[in-house]
Amino acid sequence: MNPRAVALVLVAAIWLGAPGALAQERPEVIDWKHLVPAGYDPSDLVRKYQKEVSRLRDDDPRAEKAAERLRKAWENAPVVQSLSNKTVKLSGFLVTLEGDGKAVSEFLLVPYFGACIHVPPPPSNQVVLVRTGSRPFKVTEVFDMVSVTGRLRTERSSSELASASYVIEATHVETHKP
């Protein structure tokens, strides 16, 4: 075959194929609201809960029951399946799970500061488990604000009662510069 033709075909193939290949690598920058399926609005539940509770005292058992219902709904918030296996970039606050004091190898990413002490805690589709694999991330302070880039997955828990949750296998974690 004509070597010039071969070269031309190769160049054309690369030129056409490269953007596709690169697009695969480029992470999609997402926001916390993308993790919530369309039509599911947690603030609906909160509004309902607040209406019920505003007429009751704090330690009224009915208030507790209402809080219980809200809690159950938030513990099992649905996930967005279409995001599964996408490479994404998400920013949030880091909550250490496993580390050696200097660097963390496994952490939770949450949308706001102090998610552990806040009542109620964020719904389960607003908490992402991040594994840093072979490159632990050096933390500078507790509850660091970071940007995580990696492959997003939805993982089923070992209990059938609970809904799936998000996991990111991070390729890149950096301190977030607002």
Partner: protein
């Protein structure tokens, strides 16, 4: 090169000073690297003590206090967790496993921990390592005990050995449960965590020895024999704390909230990773201070070298003149002095590293016993190499001062010296 040979001979002539200089640099290197080693080992050992645990639950106290006494056996619990509350929380739908912990007694300076077989199944440290038995088996009978590696080593225990547990944190021979001795049935492998310094017994065993004890002492006239105790109901009424593993790590905030809001008893649930991080940050200041101190010591060592070189220069002016006559230019003299400083520092570093390894081999056991810290002896880390390089560089820079002096002397003196 002839000049190098001459320089070597010159150094040999001043060998007493040279040896002292090398020693002083060596000692500062030992301190610098030694502190660095201790620091990194302490941090790693500390943070690696517990892994794979989603929550630690205890009576309501401070987060750090709960972590310290449940995992590190430092400090005391202010209150207990009732058995009923523990059972109810363990039945929470998101909880996959729990490990109950009961602390308070001791044995010859080592903490006694009452727990269940699940401890050996689920406890993890250093990310993925589980507890392994070096000898024997885990407890089966009420009076069985499994001891940590250090307990066995320091007290010379073997499988089958009977041991007596003392009431309270100090084993002074006064409040011993000597009517109900335990028997060592297993010895754990080394972990480098507080597990090594713990005697593990079953919850039933701990309950049995306290059956006839009231308010911290043996109730008179109501003695229960060891055999009689076996036949009683040995379900504990309370425990000190428990470790929790969930079905999904993202559920941790919900379960934590559930425990913290639990109305029937004031309890506290903590995320060990977060509290360890906070604790280490608080201690981190001391870490930095230690590093600062050892850097200062290295600086003092270098000052000593510069002083020695400077004061020796006057005597060496004739030597410089001789060198000039042989054909050395003033810049060669400068290079020689700097080279000497570098050579002394390099020798000091080599001797220092050697001394450090020697000291570590010798003192490792003692450090382990006194500080509970196990120092791994391996090649210097990248960070340590960097520190050594910094010392070498600093010595070269420091050597420039006497070198420049020597340069000026050799310029003004030429080949004849007028002292």
């Amino acid at each position: 090169m002839a000049i190098l040979a001459l320089a070597g001979k010159s150094l040999l002539n001043r060998r007493v000073t040279a040896v002292l200089l090398i020693l002083s640099i060596a000692l500062s290197v030992v301190l610098l690297l030694g502190v660095e080693r201790l620091r990194t080992q302490a941090r790693a050992g500390f943070a690696n003590t517990i892994s794979g645990t989603d929550l630690i639950v205890g009576a309501r106290t401070g987060a750090t206090a709960l972590l310290l006494h449940s995992v590190f056996r430092i400090g005391y619990a202010t209150n207990n967790v009732s058995w009923t509350s523990y059972q109810e929380l363990a039945r929470h739908p998101r909880v996959r496993w729990t490990i109950p912990l009961s602390l308070g007694d001791s044995h010859r300076g080592f903490a006694v921990l009452g727990t269940t077989a699940d401890y050996f199944r689920h406890y993890r440290y250093a990310r993925v390592r589980g507890l392994e038995l070096e000898a024997g088996a885990i407890f089966d009978d009420v009076y069985d005990a499994v001891v940590g590696a250090d307990v066995a080593r320091e007290l010379g225990y073997r499988v089958g050995q009977p041991i007596v547990v003392a009431h309270g944190a100090v084993d002074a021979g006064v409040s011993r449960h000597d009517d109900k001795p335990f028997r060592v049935v297993g010895i754990l492998g080394k972990t480098g965590t507080p597990v090594d310094r713990t005697v593990h017994v079953s919850l039933a065993g701990l309950e049995a020895i306290h059956l006839d004890w009231q308010s911290g002492m043996r109730a008179p006239g109501a003695a229960v024999s060891a055999e009689e105790a076996r036949r009683r109901d040995l379900t504990p009424s309370s425990i000190t704390a428990f470790l929790v593993g969930l079905d999904s790590r993202t559920a941790v905030f919900h379960v934590q909230r559930f425990v913290n809001d639990y109305r029937k008893e004031p309890l506290l649930a903590i995320l060990p990773g977060v509290v360890l991080q906070e604790l280490w940050e608080a201690i981190g200041v001391a870490e930095q201070a230690l590093l600062g101190v050892s850097a200062l010591v290295a600086l003092v060592g270098l000052f000593g070298m510069v002083t020695a070189l400077l004061t020796g220069l006057n005597e060496r002016r004739r030597e410089m003149a001789v060198l000039r006559s042989v054909g050395a230019r003033p810049r060669h003299v400068l290079a020689l002095v700097v080279g000497e400083a570098a050579a002394l520092a390099a020798a000091g570093i080599a001797v220092g590293v050697g001394l450090l390894y020697l000291a570590l081999f010798v003192a490792r056991g003692l450090i382990q016993t006194r500080l509970g810290l196990w120092i791994e002896i391996g090649f210097p880390s990248a960070h340590e190499w960097l520190l050594l390089a910094a010392v070498l560089l600093a010595s070269i820079v420091a050597g420039l001062w006497p070198a420049l002096r020597a340069y000026r002397y050799s310029l003004t003196d030429g080949m004849t010296v007028h002292v």
